[in-house]
Subunit: 274 residues, 2 copies
DNA sequence: CCCAGCGATTGGTAACACCATTCTAGGGAG
DNA sequence: CTCCCTAGAATGGTGTTACCAATCGCTGGG
């Protein structure tokens, strides 16, 4: 479960940092992985991450029962910390705490799979491919409509910025600077999702960022971004700038069709157990 | 903020009950609103719901600062439960708790808007229309692809059940039995989302259920379901049963186009403040 | 203007009473 | 003898209280 090759610091910190990218205020970010640490307490996060990964991975299978005493002993924390951690896990649907019986691991169907931490945990464990596939399908569903909505309701600044990023993408793509290309790519998709005016779409910005990062980490990005992809980014940006929802939507659809195509080899093995 | 006309018992209980509908195991359910109460402790849920609604509504605006002492005093609970409640709220991104400063209400951008409880709270407060709109747009994005995926990978039982529910829908629709129609409608969409094989899609079943319920509650459902809608349900079911993803997808798209049309009057006023 | 120290407020620990739930053991009936 | 029902005990979460540690905003003094 450790072939990720990256630190495991899910949820907020990464979310914030990634959101910063697309927001246009802070120009750097997206390149600072370890520093900010977790938001609040360090004690919870540690045991939260550990148990979260164990549940979302295949250790701690559904039905497994934990007790506060075990947690307390295993992590050397107080009962209170164990309790609060379990409460969070319970609020994510990963466990269910009942009197006299303990803390039971819940079936996957009751997980909050849109919780950034759950997504992160699943991406850093086994089932990574399945998760990447699910998320990419979600992108394919949402992003075209988001692009269309952005073409309808983006602000002038956002439209301008979309065109700018598309140009940057072309420059970086042709130069072969993959790192910065990734960064700009994330910014592009984040911008469109948030400019859509639909918060449910906007909230997926983190997800898309994580997927894009995962994709490069897995070497699924072409060594040089394909010219067609660059063209499509520009086409979408132009459509958004010009207020042509239809074009933005279909452009994004084509863009994602390529993404899907590129990722196909990853999810043929029918990874999941079910 | 109390014109909902329905009890406020968000999140899990309703989620479970609704999920039961689409799952096909238990035939009843979906008709038992109050009994199961909240999952675990009753003490948390009470203050959690209250503060959650206050934040997601416009009381407690962004930047507002709470302290544990206030909570403790206001609800007459111990510091511990106040802390655990705040921890949950924090894990949903609604607040951020820092030493010496207190518990600060976070901007909407950092909320976990896919958390069932957040959705529920927002649906039962002001901004209900905006939320309904966001969720409907999400449906429009996701459900067509989910239907296509279901046509590709549903089990034999699921395909059969889809056709069955579609027939039931026609019968109930022509009979004008709106309550049961709603129930079957939820079951239909839930089934397709879960049969898609994509957990991210499947997890939206609760959302769709809530939206459908909200739609009827607001009287946006035609008194008699339109024949076209019945036809489309059957067409989608047939396409799923026959393994024709393309047809399932376009059928669902048309279906949702009608839904969108029916809801348009609701979201013209540009409800949101921003 | 800067710096130090105060004090407010959360973070974390510990020990307790309580109670719902489950399991088990015992006894009674068939 | 077997089965079932009940009563009680063991278990483990729920809620409360008290306490100390750590942090960090603010204020006041230099």
């Amino acid at each position: 479960m450790a072939e990720t090759g990256e630190g495991s610091r899910p949820g907020y910190s990464s979310a914030v940092e990634l959101r910063g990218v697309g927001h246009g205020k802070r120009e750097h970010a997206a390149a600072s992985p370890p520093p900010p640490a977790t938001d609040a307490a360090v004690l919870h996060s540690s045991v939260l991450d550990t148990i979260g990964e164990e549940i979302t991975g295949d250790a701690l299978p559904e039905g497994h029962v934990l007790t506060l005493e075990q947690i307390r002993e295993r992590f050397g924390v107080s009962r209170t910390v164990a309790r609060e951690t379990m409460r969070i896990l319970e609020s994510m649907g990963l466990v269910r705490s009942r009197r006299r019986v303990g803390i039971t691991v819940q079936p996957r169907a009751s997980w909050n799979v849109y919780d950034p931490r759950v997504i992160w945990w699943r991406l850093s464990g086994p089932g990574r491919n399945a998760q990447l596939r699910s998320l990419t399908e979600l992108r394919i569903a949402v992003e075209p409509l988001a692009a269309g909505a952005a073409a309808r309701s983006a602000s002038a600044a956002e439209r301008e910025r979309a065109v700018g990023i598309a140009a940057t993408l072309r420059a970086l793509g042709e130069a072969g600077d993959l790192d910065r290309f990734l960064e700009a790519d994330i910014a592009f998709h984040t911008l469109l999702l948030q400019a859509s005016g639909n918060e449910m779409f906007g909230a997926l910005a983190d997800v898309v960022a994580v997927v894009l990062q995962g994709r490069t980490q897995l070497g699924l990005m072409p060594h040089h971004p394909e010219p067609a992809a660059l063209d499509l980014h520009e086409a979408v940006a132009d459509a958004v700038a010009g207020g042509r929802p239809r074009d933005a939507e279909t452009g994004m659809r084509e863009l994602l069709a390529e993404v899907r195509h590129a990722m196909l080899p990853l999810w043929e093995p029918r990874t999941r157990k079910g």
